[in-house]
Structures are given as C-alpha cells and as structure tokens.
Amino acid sequence: MFIVVLLTIFSVVTFAAGQQEATAEALKGKVTMSGGAYLMRSAQDVWDTGSMPAKYPNIKFKATGYPYLEYAKKMKIAIAANESDPDILVVHSRWIQDFLALDLVIPITDHINKDDQVTEALLEVTIDDEIYGYIYEIAPVVMYYRNDIMEEMGFDLPTTLDQYFAVGRKIAAAGKYWDLIDPAGGTHVAAIEREFLNFITQLGGDVFGKDGSVILNTAKGKGVEAAQLYYRLFKADFTGHINAERPEGFTAVKEGKVAGNYIGYAWVHRMRDAIKEGDPTFGEWRMGTPPSLVPGGARSGSETGTWVFINKLSDNKKAAIEVAKYFGHSLEGQSALANKHVIIGGYKPALEYLQDHSAAWPLLGGQGVQAKIAEILLTQKVPIAHADPAMGEAQDILRDYLTRMLNEEMTPKEAMDAAASKIQKAQELK
C-alpha cells in the first residue's frame, strides 16, 4: 500500500515536472524575423538585451533586415518558394494587403488582447473578426517647434487650423519658416505623398475605402479637401520650399531659419544624425501635438504603420507567436523598442508606461519624446491610412500629381481626379 502511494506521488511529481519542462522545451528552435533594416536591427538589439534569452534559452532568434523597398520582394519570393523562413514578417502598410489578401499569414486572434491595442491600427489587420497581426509601430504626425522662438515672440502652440495659420503669419513676418514642403516631391522616404496622407487621414478621409474602392476624390475620401489644404499650406509665406529630411533641410535649421515643422515624428531620427555634428545654433526644439484640421477633429494622423505577422508556412509557429507577442504585445518589448530606438507601437500598457518612463532627449531640451508620441496615440484616435494591394503604386502616383499641383500645373481637384483614375487602373492590372 505504502509503495503504491509512493509510486503515485512519484509519478504525479514527475508528471508535473515533465509538464513544465514540456512548456519551456516546446518553445525552442530557430525563429527568424524579417523586415526593414532599421526595424530589424532594433528588434535584434532589444531581444539580445532583454529578458527573453534567459526566459527561453532554447529559442534562437535572428532578425534580418533589408532595405526598405527590398524586403517585401524578398519575403514574397521566400514564400513563393515554399519557405518556412522567415517565421515572422514585419511589414509596412504599403504591403500588408498583399500578404493578407493572398492568405499568407495566420490569424492570432487567440493570442491577443484586443483591449490592450490601439483600435484604429488593429482594424487594419482584422478580417471577418479575425485578427492577423500585432502592431509594431505607428507613425503619427507631430508638430515640431522652436521653444525659444515661441517664448521670445510670445505665442502658444496652436490647437486649431486657424491658430496655426495665425502663428505662421507672425513667424513669416519675423523672416522664418513654420513648415517645410519640398516642391520636388521628395523621395519615397521623405516624400510629399506621405505628408499628404497624414493630412487626409487627419481630416477623416482616405485614399481607399474599406471595400477596396478608390474614394480619393469623393466626398467621403476628402482627397480634394486635403489637397486644397496642402496647396494652401505650400503657398503660405511661412512655408519653406526645402526638403526637411535632406541635408539642405538641416542646413536651414542650423542657420536658424526654421521655427517649426509639421511632419511625421520620425524627423527626430534625422535630427539625431544631423546634430551630432555639435552645432550650437540648433536652437531649443520641442515636439508638440499638432493642431486639429477641422473643428473637433483628430489632432494627428498617420500615413503608415508596421505590423508583425506570422508566416503560414512557418514550422515553429508556437515559438514564433511568443516572439511576435514580445515585440508587439508586451510591456518590456514595446517599451524597449520605444526607449532605445524610438519605435512606438500600439500596445496600450506600454504607451501608458512610457508616459512616466520615457528616455529624456537632450536634443529636445530633455523632453520625453516617447512620452509625447504615446500621449498622442492614447488621447487622439489617430486614424491610419487604409492600405490596398495597389498602395505602393498609389503612393507614387499621388507623389507625381501632388508635385504637379504644387508646381501649378493642375488644380487640386484636377490632380485628385487624375490620380484617382490612375490608381483605379493600377488596381485592375494587379
């Protein structure tokens, strides 16, 4: 009898221990992740310096980055060749519809807590109530401004469009710029169509409807309104016709000619590169919440986001999901990405954490940049431009017609109509 009890206890204990080992053991093997170069370098760094290697010693994680316009092509080829590698795909909105529409990724609805994610970004990857990806990064537009000039001239940060123009006129009178728009259109990174997309989403419109139709030049899409506003901004006295993301932009900044810039928050990366040169004339820059473009409207918009997907052909899905969750749906992962690499996503607990635990930026007078962006994401329902399989070409088409509009070859309405019809043709050819 005693032996039976002993044996039972023994087997129960072994069994329990076995279960635990099975859990930690089940999550092992190689997990690969692929995406844009900067995002992947950051991910690898966050993984290596975080708690995950200790927690899951059997998982070998490798993030491989490719140049921005290359990675989608590379991923598609891998999947076309029936490759299980990469297990995790990190994709910008320009291409997500390709992967979603072609049924290349698995749903992760059971592994995500919807309430913990910023809703607007989640909707982009929700099809028939199934959620397919975690949010890795959202890129809201912000208002950069020179705090010292603001104090010297005695104005407040504008919260409405009219205030924005009023402040702009004062700044123009002082011989400085309040915004920078490049009449040459910029390149795919620092491009005017991305600024335009920020506008159109902030106004509540979009290029594509949720059903995939082109609504750019319809009343619902608000494209013409956005184009007219963009044109008005370009023509204002206070707008410099320089590319903000290029060396010439920073030359103007360092020569003290620029008092503000309404641009995606990633401008801070370029600042960090340009100002390491050690220039005292840089001025006291801060990051602020942009004004609303319509009464009661959102005070920011986002032309793109990045999501984390799991490859349907992955042979290590369980581990891949854990890793993906770490980067897109965990406090440690998301806050590390934010504080070390200024990549801010949509995981609410992390955003709240960042409000009090943001890295201080000496460049911006010690301001917590991450805190500011997190605040915008939490308090403003930042809409994200809806992507479509033809999004890549649509962006190039928009850039072309917006450039023509800025150079006075077309009116805003003509430009939007022409762009819309060309985008429709592009959709048909895909």
Binding site: Y66, Y68, E277
Partner: protein, 280 residues
C-alpha cells in the same frame, strides 16, 4: 616671329586650354569625393563651400563599417569582379577560338547568336533572371552573382576578332604536324601565345564588373552579400539614416582600387579599348 609662328602659338594655347579645362572637369569630382568623405554633412551642402575641409576627420569611414559589414562587402566586390574576369577569359577565348579557327557546321548560327546577344539590352531579362535564380535558390549567393553572364558575348566577339586577325594558322598546323592533339593544342599553344590579349580582356571584364550595379542589385538583398555599389544606393537613396558623407566614403573605397589598378595597367586597358573596338 612670323605671323604663321604666332598663329601656331595661339592655336597651341587654345588647344592646351581646352585640354586643361577638360582635365579640371574630369578631376574635380574625384577631389570632391575624397574631401567630401572627410567633412561633416553641414560642411558638405552649404552656401559657404570651402575648397579645403575645416578639419579632416575619418568619422564617416568608421560609421560606415559600423553600419555595414564593410570588409566583407569589399571582399565580395573583389571576388565577384575577379571571378567574372577569370571565367570570362577562359570561356570567351575558348568560344572565340572555336568560332575563328574551326569551320564547324553551325558556325555561322553560333556567331549570329553571339552578335544577337551583343545587341540586346540587359533590361529585357531582369525579371526572368530574378525568377530563374529564385527557382535555383541562387539568390544572395555567389553562384547567382557569377555564373549567369560568365561568358559575355562581347568578350567572345573580341577574342574571335583577335584570333581571326592576329593568330596565324601556321602555328597551329605546325603543332598538329608535330603530333599535338586538338585538345592540348588549345592549352599548350593557343593560351601562351594569346596571353596579352587575354590579359586585356581580363582587365576590361574586371573593370566592367567592378562597376556593375544592376546585376548585384537584382541578385542580392542580404547585407553580407552586398557589393560596394549597392551600399551606395542603400545609403544615399533615403531611409532613416541618409548620410551622404558616408556614401562618399564608400565611393572612395570603391573607386580608389580600380583607379590604382587602372593607372598601373593602363597600357593594357587603353590599348585594349582602342584596338578591340576599332575593328568594328
């Protein structure tokens, strides 16, 4: 001093003037490349350009090797260009020899194939090349970089011209009489005697592939397999860290070796380019 003499001096001054102007135009961008790679971005693009940099610093080079595995990339470039050159010399001379010295059935068709390949732009086969390489799993590998196009039509054409015009049949016949087989004829007689031409071809192919951007751009997307031209595009085409000083640094590293090689072997290059083509 006669009028004629004065006129001839004036003409000379004019000639040299023009030539020197062209020299300046040719040299200045190189100077800017090297000096620019030592400047900060703010000095590089500014209305206050100075001919000499304020202080020469090599930070850009350090940044470059932090950001990319630059040693590996440079080696890739050398290996790629070098292998292409060796394979081209070997196979082009074979094919050229066959076309020149053996009136085999089908020779005119084969020669026509070579000519057609010369006329067609590479762009027409970018997309299928990429897909074929993907199917072979040769993307991002040296196989994929080197094997396709290892026997350039231009090289075959050049070698064929050389063999037709400058390689005497008598030497071959003499060797045959001495009992040499056709196979060893090539290795023992032809190669040693056509060495200068082969060097020329090798140098030209080496240079062309060192300069080649579009083929590695098609085949390669992993950083470890980059060649230096791709690095330029990766840096200067935008992205989070667009840094032209770094791009200039990379260009300097990519250009200087080839220029040095060119200066050392310029006899080969120039004579090859000058004569290889003028036979039309």
């Amino acid at each position: 001093m006669t009028v004629r003499h004065a006129k001839s001096i004036a003409v000379r001054i004019l000639l040299y003037g023009v030539l020197l102007l062209f020299v300046l135009i040719c040299i200045f961008p190189f100077y800017m490349m090297v000096s620019g790679s030592t400047k900060n971005n703010s000095e590089l693009i500014t209305l206050n350009q100075k001919l000499l940099p304020q202080q020469v610093n090599f930070r850009k080079y350090a940044l470059l090797s932090e950001r990319f595995p630059f040693w590996r990339i440079s080696l890739n470039t050398v290996f790629f260009a070098g292998s292409k050159a060796i394979l081209a010399v070997l196979f082009c001379s074979m094919a050229g020899f066959a076309l020149a010295k053996y009136p085999f059935p089908g020779r005119s068709i084969c020669f026509a194939l070579v000519l057609i390949t010369l006329m067609v732009p590479f762009q027409s086969i970018i997309v299928p090349s990429y897909l074929i390489l993907a199917r072979f799993r040769w993307l991002n590998t040296f196989w994929g970089l080197i094997v396709p196009g290892a026997v350039p039509a231009f090289g075959t054409f050049m070698m064929r011209q050389f063999f037709v015009a400058s390689f005497p049949d008598e030497v071959l016949d003499a060797a045959r009489i001495d009992g040499c087989t056709e196979f060893s004829l090539y290795w023992k007689i032809v190669i040693p005697l056509s060495a200068p031409s082969m060097w020329v071809l090798g140098m030209i192919i080496l240079m062309l592939n060192w300069k080649n951007f579009i083929w590695p751009f098609v085949v390669v997307s992993k950083e470890e397999m980059f060649t230096i031209p791709i690095v330029i595009q990766a840096i200067a085409a935008g992205g989070v860290h667009e840094d032209w000083g770094q791009a200039l640094a990379a260009s300097t590293v990519g250009t200087i070796p080839l220029i040095v090689l060119f200066l050392v072997a310029q006899k080969y290059f120039i004579s090859g380019l000058m004569s290889g083509f003028s036979k039309g």
